[in-house]
Symmetry: C2
Subunit: 369 residues, 2 copies
Amino acid sequence: MSKLIYRRRQSARPAPHAGEPTYGPLTAEELQLAVRNHSMPLEALREDITPPGLHYVLTHFDIPHIDAGSWHLRIGGAVERSLELSLAALKKDPAISVPVTLECAGNGRSLLKPRPLSQPWTLEAVGTAVWTGVPLAYLLAQARVEPEAVEIVFTGLDEGIQGGVRQQYARSLPIAEALRADVVLAYKMNGSELPPQHGYPLRLVVPGWYGMTSVKWLQSIQVVTVPFHGFQQSVAYRYQHTADDAGAPVSRIRIRSLMLPPGIPDFYTRRRILSRGPVMLRGRAWSGEGAVTGVDVGIDGKWAPAQLEKAAGAFAWRGWSFPWVADPGEHELACRATDATGAVQPLEQHWNYQGMGNNVVQRVKVRVE
Amino acid sequence: MSKLIYRRRQSARPAPHAGEPTYGPLTAEELQLAVRNHSMPLEALREDITPPGLHYVLTHFDIPHIDAGSWHLRIGGAVERSLELSLAALKKDPAISVPVTLECAGNGRSLLKPRPLSQPWTLEAVGTAVWTGVPLAYLLAQARVEPEAVEIVFTGLDEGIQGGVRQQYARSLPIAEALRADVVLAYKMNGSELPPQHGYPLRLVVPGWYGMTSVKWLQSIQVVTVPFHGFQQSVAYRYQHTADDAGAPVSRIRIRSLMLPPGIPDFYTRRRILSRGPVMLRGRAWSGEGAVTGVDVGIDGKWAPAQLEKAAGAFAWRGWSFPWVADPGEHELACRATDATGAVQPLEQHWNYQGMGNNVVQRVKVRVE
């Protein structure tokens, strides 16, 4: 057995995470990541647009310090005309504003058994913002992409080591995705200057895709004629069964819904305490694969459809509500969304090696008094 | 032994935390608190004023939803003239702006052995902001405090259960502290409307005191003639040796310094990698008990004084810098501040039952290549 494991490790590609998934206790390193990175407290589900400072944040390395006065964006590679643009120049270009729900691909990871060793999200690595900036397609049209181009590589100024590999954070997008009209190079978030942790002075925002796609602190955009095999593309962010399995790329956000926990919490356990009588259960649902078409709410395992609100945008979450008459005792509440492709949230989590795309149904325990 | 423990528990006051301190692994409840509440990533030490969304946040219960249009602040109790003020009325009063470093009293708790079961902070529960609003003393002068008054009780709109006790968050201040010219009822943070998680529409800010004093989501200010014994005053936020020890109240922020980790990080371990040669080590130091008078930097246990910058305010942190020529190999860096009272950070942590006021020296491991 140990020989087999030894051979496996010898043959393995660079590791996305810091060891094999574990049934063991949370490590000091995971705690450090949990306090460094920020979740959205679930009560922020009240708002269609997540208030400042409550949107989730995951930073692989450090938040870089960038002097926007000397910063330039370089667009090059397989283009007829390379560009180098200052922030002032970008702000003179036509701008669009797009409401987008972003979610970390690793959301829910800490609930998996065994648990991949990385940022130990529970359920709250999500947020919705209005991103304002220049359509990527506008700049690509100016640069004139060569016909043999297959992908576009976005590189950020954040630098560090992951899986033993020194790197600047970089991800690619297929040409067809990059040319979508709603893909934006954003310099504003909710009408204000980008905060440092969200990519100041400029970030890519790709509606519908998990957050790793929306590269922050953009330094360069390179058009390439062969697929990109950087660490964050070929090693991290894969749906894998084992360490050796090359896996499938993580891309669009899977259908998910969350509930605003009703009543009041216990400080430590976060268990909810609720008064008997009528209460409106509320939450939001989103999918990067198709419009949200339904949300069912489960009360002690009995499901019924919720009322849907209008979505804030094609790739922004959709509010839902469900009236409940709470009777005294212990109850388990749940919500489960479906999208236009027919995808529905699983009742039990599907495990994968990196803990990606966990969209299991949320369960909220309440005591009604 | 089990009998002794049983007797102790019988006689115990309500418990501040969810059980006895433990040497065991991090619990699911602690992880949930760690992802819910927000630390300041250490790279934010670059800035004198913490950027939006990076200031630490601890919310005991939920962030309440408050309609500022119908919200009023009530000032009453042992006063000649009770007041009820709208936000619009408060904004017409004279305003002050005060730069303040706030730190959670439980900062560093997760490093203690045994570890109290509560929010498992590492070292980053801190931040500095400019708070703008009405001086509390101005409103108290209008209300005319009765001569027999001893304390002022501040109650927030956040509600929940802690230690088995249902409560709205409430804390008191002695009259003399409340009348200080720099104690502010703030409706702006860094020039913008208070974000929901920082107490919208109004919070108390008491410069120099640990964060639990600066009550958020203020609903009422009551002048009292006997000392307040609410849960957050008499049970939580005490320096105790054991569960049964009534302990001493937590009040002002103890001397502390932190270093901006140099070089680049490893994603998972956060270990630093640095290039050989000259590097300027930087950080900030603060104390609620007296001005910061010195910071020493330790390189592999050898200490030397850092250069101090001007403090941003009487109770705002003070920048420091220290030039180092990094030679290849593994190193341990540390920083240790002293204040005007002669207080200096301990090299080894002083344990207490609730994990309060941990101001142990930070140690940063770096590999120089």
